[in-house]
């Protein structure tokens, strides 16, 4: 068969969402709606101290006065925030002490997600925290980490066990009034992960959190806080999935990173929330605020592979406050069918000799819209700041769109800022060339897409690079499974 645009498009339409199962676990879910009572109830449910409850209520009150942003290049029906339940948890009050206590249905879910906790333990040496709906259900490897003084636990526990750390850092990078969704998250977040690496400690394994929305009609609002103290190092990965549902589910997360002097944080995301069906019905609204601060000689590196969600609004950013600090952003964003993504980064150069690198790869298929939006800001005292940005778009078919919105604000004459952008299309001639060598259409597309994304895939930790590569193939290849 010849590979025409028509056929290419048709094939892409048949994509199936692999993780669209629902686990029948008994859940405790709050009634829908949002008011001060609900906010207080969430806080009470988590046995939080008073200062946390007040912090949430302040955020809620600020949120009431804010407007949902509409500057992004996305179109969607604004969620009815009174129609969402803000707390859902697999029923069973206590945190599991060992895997034996975990609901077998839940364990089955992990297997379907391709995470056998046991295997994770043995093979990859990845410590993992798993958050289903709103609650963290299993954290592995805690003892091993504790010996090094590393704290890796659900944030709800950190609020109780390490209040001094949480109080000091939460909202310090992303104030609760930062933006509409961050304010909402600050008011209603129910769990997430907390990680603290003490001075001079190199975290010996990848830390990982797996997020999943399970219950219908709920939103997920997780909060992640990673603190790398002076001279420490940590590599952190988060993965996300959700069942296929007709209605749109809301995910509004906040991630704050703090890299103290000489520290390094590598934060990788593989986002595969349900993207909606091929008519554009359902799917997750992914409105996420991620930001990190770099002190002297420190480094924060964001790597993201975004293949899911109906609408994505996300700009993992770096505030390069310290001298000689480094910010990096490596991104692959895939949109298919009716998906819309507006994603990119902000690099704020404040310190001297700060450097940032932005590599963004957008892949659009079907009728999707894929936008890169990035800001490079060099403040007046940021001498010798350097930035390199590269934004590449790959288009499949004639009905999708790729957009690039780069913003540059330089207030220091010594700044060197480079921006490169390319747009290409998978051509019939490329497909035929592969076919002639015995490579079928699906494999050919996978090969071309992986080649296009290679610079970013290379930045992922080894085990996850393989997973991400597979995800790219599933997202674009039709019936491959």
């Amino acid at each position: 068969m010849a590979y025409t645009e028509e056929e290419l498009k048709k094939e892409l339409e048949t994509k199936e969402y692999e993780y669209g199962f629902y686990t029948d676990i008994e859940s405790e879910t709050f009634p829908v709606g949002l008011n001060e009572k609900i906010v207080t109830a969430i806080s009470k449910k988590k046995n939080e101290p008073q200062w946390m409850t007040s912090w949430r209520l302040d955020a809620y009150r600020a949120w009431l006065k804010m407007d949902e942003p509409d500057w992004a290049n996305v179109n969607y029906k604004k969620p009815d925030f009174q129609a969402i339940s803000y707390y859902s948890a697999p029923k069973k009050q206590d945190k599991y002490k060992s895997l034996d206590e975990v609901d077998p249905e839940l364990l089955e879910t992990f297997n379907k997600l391709g995470i056998s906790i046991d295997e994770q333990k043995k093979l990859s040496g990845v410590a993992m925290d798993i958050v289903i709906d709103s609650v963290s259900v299993a954290t592995t490897f805690r003892d091993t980490l504790a010996k090094k003084g590393i704290i890796f636990c659900p944030i709800s526990e950190a609020i109780k066990d390490h209040p001094e750390l949480v109080k000091k850092y939460i909202g310090s990078i992303i104030p609760s009034t930062d933006n509409y969704y961050a304010a909402l998250n600050s008011a209603v977040f129910s769990d997430g992960s907390f990680c603290y690496i003490p001075k001079g400690v190199k975290c010996p394994m990848e830390l990982s959190t797996y997020f999943r929305i399970n219950q219908g009609g709920t939103g997920q609002f997780e909060r992640t806080l990673v603190i790398a103290d002076e001279g420490s190092y940590v590599s952190y990965l988060e993965g996300c999935t959700a069942p296929s549902r007709d209605e749109n589910q809301l995910h509004a997360a906040v991630v704050e990173l703090i890299a103290h002097d000489n520290a390094e944080i590598k934060y990788s995301t593989v986002q595969n929330w349900y993207p909606g069906n091929k008519e554009g019905k359902g799917g997750v609204y992914n409105f996420v605020t991620k930001r990190g601060i770099c002190h002297n000689n420190s480094k924060i590196s964001w790597t993201q592979v975004e293949t899911g969600s109906a609408v994505t609004w996300k700009y993992p950013s770096c505030i390069l406050k310290g001298d000689n600090s480094i910010g990096e952003f490596y991104s692959i964003a895939v949109t298919n069918n009716f998906q819309q993504a507006d994603t990119g980064t902000k690099m704020i150069h404040i310190g001297k000799n700060t450097r940032s690198t932005i590599i963004s790869k957008g892949i659009s298929a079907g009728k999707s819209q894929n936008s890169y939006r990035g800001l490079v800001q060099v403040n007046s005292r940021a001498h010798n700041a350097r930035n390199f940005s590269q934004c590449d778009s790959l288009l499949m078919g004639n009905e999708c769109g790729a957009h690039t919105f780069p913003y540059i604000e330089a207030k220091n004459n010594s700044a060197q800022i480079e921006h490169e952008a390319t747009t290409s299309k998978i051509g019939e001639d490329q497909i035929f060339y592969c076919n002639q060598r015995g490579i079928d259409n699906e494999k050919a597309i996978a090969l071309i897409v992986n080649g296009f994304s290679k610079e970013v895939l290379n930045k992922l930790p080894m085990e996850f690079a393989v997973e991400a590569q597979k995800l790219l193939e599933i997202s674009l290849e039709g019936s491959v499974g």
């Binding site: 490329q430 076919n435 490579i439 080649g451 290679k454």
Partner: protein, 249 residues
């Protein structure tokens, strides 16, 4: 090996091949020559299964088996290889990764496991040495930034790795200087054996100075109008295509 019977083909409704007959046996090298627009490249593409070209009439038989309805990749699995006149670039995909994917795709179609990495590596080294290719070249992105000569050499390298039964070299000499031409021709000569066959599509006879064909055919206006031995190529060189055009009209 390959039997072409009364082949008609069109592109965008325009008839290009108007009844081509050809019989290529194992161990033979056939050259197909002809002026621009005579349908040479169309013939190569139709044999390879590029369905931008519509086969409107006739038969393609590979070792007696009708391959008319087979997809390009299925033909490739059966041992058909085409060296492209304009090889495409695939950024980010190394020559090695590409060739590995190609070999394992064919193996999969034949019900075989992936080729073990050690075997693959050995084969790559062997073939690279045979074609005097620097192995550093193999880590580069496929055809990206390659010179004309490198592209064609890469095509012949893939041919060496895939060990096809039937190879079609479409204008392999175009864009090559004399040194590159010699290297490519040498490669083809080294890969030639009694079990495979080669069809060389060319406008000029200069490649035939280095690869000696058993038969030479002249394509004009979508038909083979003259067939002969190597001498025919020399005659064409001397007299030009007008000679054949006049004779056939």
């Amino acid at each position: 090996m390959l039997t072409i019977e009364n082949l008609h083909a069109a592109v965008d409704g325009k008839s290009i091949l108007k009844g081509v007959d050809l019989d290529v046996k194992a161990g033979e090298i056939h050259a197909i020559m002809g002026p621009n627009g005579s349908g040479k490249s169309t013939l190569a593409s139709v044999i390879a299964g590029n369905e931008v070209y519509e086969m409107t009439k006739g038969n393609l038989l590979l070792n007696g088996e009708d391959i008319n309805e087979l997809d390009a990749e299925e033909r490739a699995h059966k041992g058909v290889f085409m060296s492209f006149q304009y090889p495409v670039e695939i950024p980010g995909v190394s020559v090695t990764n590409f060739i590995k994917t190609a070999i394992n795709s064919s193996r999969k179609a034949q019900g075989l496991e992936d080729m073990p990495a050690s075997e693959m590596l050995k084969k790559i080294r062997q073939k690279a040495a045979l074609l005097e290719i620097d192995t550093k070249f193999l880590s580069r992105s496929l055809n990206e930034g390659f010179s004309g000569g490198e592209k064609k050499r890469n095509e012949i390298f893939q041919m060496a790795m895939l060990e096809p039964k039937l190879s079609i070299l479409d204008e392999t000499d175009s864009g090559l200087d004399i040194d590159a031409l010699k290297i490519v021709a040498n490669g083809v000569n080294k890969l030639r054996n009694k079990n495979n066959a080669v069809i060389i599509i060319t406008h000029y006879q200069r490649l035939l100075n280095y690869i000696a064909p058993d038969f030479v055919h002249v394509l004009h206006n979508g038909k083979i109008v003259k067939s002969g031995t190597k001498d025919l190529a020399h005659e064409l060189e001397a007299k030009g295509y007008d000679w054949v055009k006049q004779e056939s009209s």
